[in-house]
C-alpha cells in the first residue's frame, strides 16, 4: 500500500472512529506507513489508467527518499504533539494533508503531482481554518486562493508541455519555454518566493498551535523537492535564495507575534535551500536536501515550543510574554535546543547541513552571495536563536499564570530535540540518505571556529544592544509587507469601485422607474459588498479559480 493511501485511509477511518481512538489512529498512521515504507512494501510503480493516460502514483528515487523519511518523522512529531486534542476535523485534515504531501513526493508524473498538489492545498486550508473563527475563515480563503493560483500555474505548465509533446514525465522542462516559467512560478509560489511569501506569514500564525506544526513541515518542503526535481542548477534561484535569506530577517527583528517571527525565519531558511539548488552541484543539492530535512525538524520543534506557550498561556506576542522559564523550564530548554539547531551551532543539526551550502557557494566562486548568506546566518541566530527564547522565556517577568506543557507536547518536543542533537553529532546518519554520493567533513577546526566566532559575536552584539537600550522593544503592532497590496490597497480600491457603482446605479434608478426594483436590489448589494479581503469575496475568488481549474483540466485532456 503506498504511504499516501495509508494516510487517506486513516483520515476516513478517523471520521467514523469513536473519540477515544482518535489519538491512536493519529499516532499509529505515520508509524504504520513508515514501517511499510522501510520494509519496501509500498507498491512501488503503482499506476492508474485514466482517460488514456497512465498516472504513476508511487515512485521512489534517491531524491524523494530523504524527504519521504523525514516527512514520516514530522508526521509522527505533529501527531504526538496534537494527541491531547479531540477534534475530528483537525486530525482528519492533518492526516489527509500529510497523505497528499507524501503523494506529491511519490508522484511519478506531472498530472499525479498536480493532483496531490491541489489536494494538499485544500486539506491545508482546512487546517488554517481549524480555529473556526471569522478571521480564520478569511485567512484560510486568502491562503487557498494563493495555493490554487500555484495549482493553476502548474496545470497551465503541464498542459503546455503536453501540447509541445514533451510528455508529463518528471523531467526539467525545456529552458525558456513558457512551460518552464509557469512551473517555476508554481513551485516558487508554494516555496514562498517574494513577493508572494505572505500566504505563509499570514496563514501559519493564525492556525491552531497544533495545526501550525503540521503546516510548517510539508507545503514549502514539497515545493523545495519540486524545485530540486525540475530546476536544479537554475542560476536565478541563487539570487532568489539570497533575497529570501536576507529580507525576512529585518522583519523578524521587529515582529511581535513570535510564531510570525518563526515564519519569517522559515522563509530565511528556505532561502538557503533555494540558493543551494541554484548552485546545483552535488554538494549544493545535498546541502539543500539535508537542510530541508533538518529544517523540518528544528522548525517543528520551535513551532511546537511556541505552540506550547500559546496553548498554556493563550498569548504569543513577545510584548506580553516573558519570564516563563521558571514555570515552563522543560519547554524553555527544548526551545533553546531548537534555537541552537536553527542557528547552526556546532553539534546541532543546522550546522551540518548549512555548512554544505556555504562551502558549495565558495567552491563555485559565488563570493558575494556567500557574504550575503553569511549575513543571513548571523541574522538568523539573532532573531530565531536569541529573540524567540529570550522574549518568550526570559526578558522581563510578565507574571503570567502558566504551567509546564502537557506531557504529549513535551514528548514530541523531546523527540525533535533528540533528532537535532543526534544529526548534529553524527552527521553521517543524514549524509548517507542524501541523493548524491559525496564526502564532506563538517567538523574540521576551521569550520567550527569560524561558526563559533560568527555566532558568539552575534550574541555579543545582542547583549550589547540590549544592555545599552538600543534593541528595539517588542511593540504590539503589525508591519506592512506585500500583503498590504491585497489586504489594504486592493480592499480599498474594491470598496471605492463598489461605492461608485452604487452611486451610478442610484442615479440610473432615479431616472428609470421601470427597472426600479431590480436596480435597488443591485445598489443595495453593492453597498453591502464587503472589502476584497472579506470572506464572501475570497470565497467568490475561490469559486472562480476552481472553475478556471476545471476548464483548464478539461482543455488539457482534450489535447
Amino acid at each position: 500500500m503506498p504511504p499516501w493511501l495509508c494516510f487517506y485511509g486513516a483520515a476516513l477511518l478517523l471520521a467514523v472512529a469513536p473519540k477515544r481512538l482518535q489519538g491512536t489512529i493519529l499516532v499509529a498512521t505515520p508509524l504504520l506507513s513508515a514501517a511499510l515504507f522501510l520494509t519496501g512494501t509500498y507498491a512501488e510503480g503503482m499506476t492508474l489508467q485514466i482517460a488514456g493516460r497512465s498516472l504513476v502514483l508511487c515512485q521512489v528515487d534517491a531524491l524523494s527518499k530523504p524527504f519521504l523519511l523525514i516527512f514520516h518523522f514530522a508526521a509522527l512529531l505533529g501527531a504526538v504533539f496534537a494527541l491531547h486534542l479531540r477534534d475530528r476535523l483537525q486530525h482528519g485534515a492533518a492526516l489527509f494533508y500529510i497523505g497528499s504531501a507524501l503523494g506529491a513526493l511519490l508522484a511519478g508524473d506531472l498530472i499525479s503531482l498536480l493532483l496531490f498538489w491541489e489536494l494538499m492545498a485544500f486539506s491545508s486550508a482546512i487546517l488554517v481554518w481549524a480555529g473556526r473563527g471569522k478571521q480564520n475563515l478569511r485567512t484560510a480563503l486568502r491562503y487557498l486562493v494563493l495555493q490554487l493560483i500555484s495549482g493553476q500555474l502548474l496545470l497551465a505548465g503541464t498542459v503546455l508541455l503536453i501540447q509541445q509533446g514533451t510528455g508529463t514525465g518528471l523531467n526539467p522542462p525545456p529552458p525558456d519555454s513558457p512551460a518552464y516559467w509557469l512551473l517555476l512560478a508554481a513551485f516558487g509560489l508554494k516555496c514562498a518566493f517574494p513577493p508572494t511569501h505572505n500566504w505563509l506569514t499570514e496563514a501559519y500564525p493564525s492556525a491552531t498551535p497544533t495545526g501550525t506544526v503540521f503546516l510548517s513541515a510539508f507545503t514549502t518542503k514539497v515545493a523545495v523537492y519540486a524545485l530540486a526535481r525540475f530546476f536544479t542548477g537554475e542560476e536565478l534561484l541563487i539570487y532568489i535564495g539570497a533575497l529570501m535569506a536576507c529580507f525576512p530577517i529585518f522583519y523578524a527583528v521587529i515582529e511581535n507575534d513570535l510564531r510570525r517571527v518563526l515564519c519569517y525565519s522559515m522563509i530565511n531558511q528556505l532561502g538557503f535551500m533555494v540558493c543551494g539548488l541554484g548552485v546545483g552541484t552535488a554538494l549544493a543539492v545535498n546541502g539543500a536536501v539535508a537542510h530541508a530535512c533538518n529544517d523540518i525538524v528544528f522548525k517543528s520543534l520551535l513551532f511546537m515550543s511556541m505552540g506550547a506557550v500559546l496553548h498554556v498561556t493563550g498569548i504569543i506576542e513577545g510584548s506580553r510574554l516573558g519570564g516563563l522559564y521558571r514555570k515552563m523550564p522543560r519547554t524553555a530548554a527544548l526551545c533553546i535546543i531548537g534555537a541552537a539547531s536553527i542557528s547552526a551551532f556546532p553539534l546541532f543539526s543546522g550546522f551540518v547541513s548549512k555548512s554544505l551550502i556555504m562551502s558549495a557557494l565558495l567552491m563555485e566562486g559565488h563570493h558575494t552571495i556567500w557574504l550575503v548568506m553569511l549575513f543571513a546566518s548571523a541574522g538568523v541566530f539573532h532573531h530565531a536563536g536569541i529573540k524567540i527564547p529570550y522574549f518568550a522565556f526570559f526578558a522581563h517577568d510578565a507574571g503570567l499564570k502558566a504551567h509546564e506543557a502537557p506531557r504529549n507536547m513535551l514528548i514530541a518536543m523531546t523527540l525533535a530535540a533528540a533528532f537535532c542533537i543526534l544529526i548534529g553529532c553524527f552527521p553521517s546518519l543524514l549524509y548517507a540518505q542524501l541523493p548524491h554520493e559525496f564526502s564532506y567533513s563538517a567538523y574540521d577546526a576551521g569550520h567550527v571556529l569560524a561558526q563559533l566566532q560568527l555566532l558568539c559575536f552575534s550574541a555579543l552584539a545582542f547583549i550589547w544592544l540590549n544592555l545599552s537600550g538600543r534593541y528595539p522593544p517588542e511593540l504590539p503592532s503589525v508591519n506592512l509587507d506585500m500583503e498590504w497590496f491585497y489586504r489594504s490597497l486592493g480592499a480599498n480600491t474594491w470598496r471605492r469601485a463598489c461605492t461608485t457603482a452604487a452611486r451610478m446605479a442610484h442615479i440610473w434608478n432615479t431616472r428609470c422607474n421601470h427597472f426600479k426594483p431590480l436596480l435597488r436590489e443591485a445598489e443595495q448589494s453593492l453597498l453591502e459588498r464587503p472589502g476584497l479581503s472579506q470572506a464572501a469575496n475570497s470565497g467568490l475568488l475561490v469559486y472562480c479559480l476552481l472553475t478556471l481549474l476545471t476548464l483548464l483540466l478539461l482543455y488539457g485532456y482534450a489535447l
Binding site: Q135, R138, I249, F250, Y251, V253, I254, S359, L362, M363, H367, W370, L371, L374, F375, A378, G379, H382, H396, D444, A445, G446, L449, A450, Q451, L452, Q453, L454, L455, C456, F457, S458, A459, L460, A461, F462, I463, W464, L465, L467, G469, R470, Y471, P472, P473, L475, P476, S477, V478, N479, L480, D481, E483, R487, S488, A491, N492, G531, S533, Q534
Partner: protein, 91 residues
Amino acid sequence: MSAQHTPHETHPAPRPPIPTWLRYSLLAFSVICALLLLADSLVHRHVEHALERWWGFYGMFGFLACVALVEAAKLLRHLLMRPRNYYEDKD
C-alpha cells in the same frame, strides 16, 4: 501618513539593575569571545576566500552584521509599523 497610521509607541518600563550572577555570566561570555579570537591565531584554517584570512573576520562580521541588522530594522519600523488592528479595521 495620516494620523490613524501613526503607531502607538509605548515606552518600555525602566530597566531593572543587572543582577550579579548575570554580570559574571556576561563577563565569562566576553572571555569566551576573546578566546575565540585568540584561537584564530593558533588554528590553521583552510581558507577559500581572501576575507577569511583577516584576523577575526568571522567574529567582527557577526558583530557588525547584527548591529547593522538591528539598526536597519529600527529604521524600517518607522516606515512599516502600523497599529495592531490595522488590517482588522479594513476587513
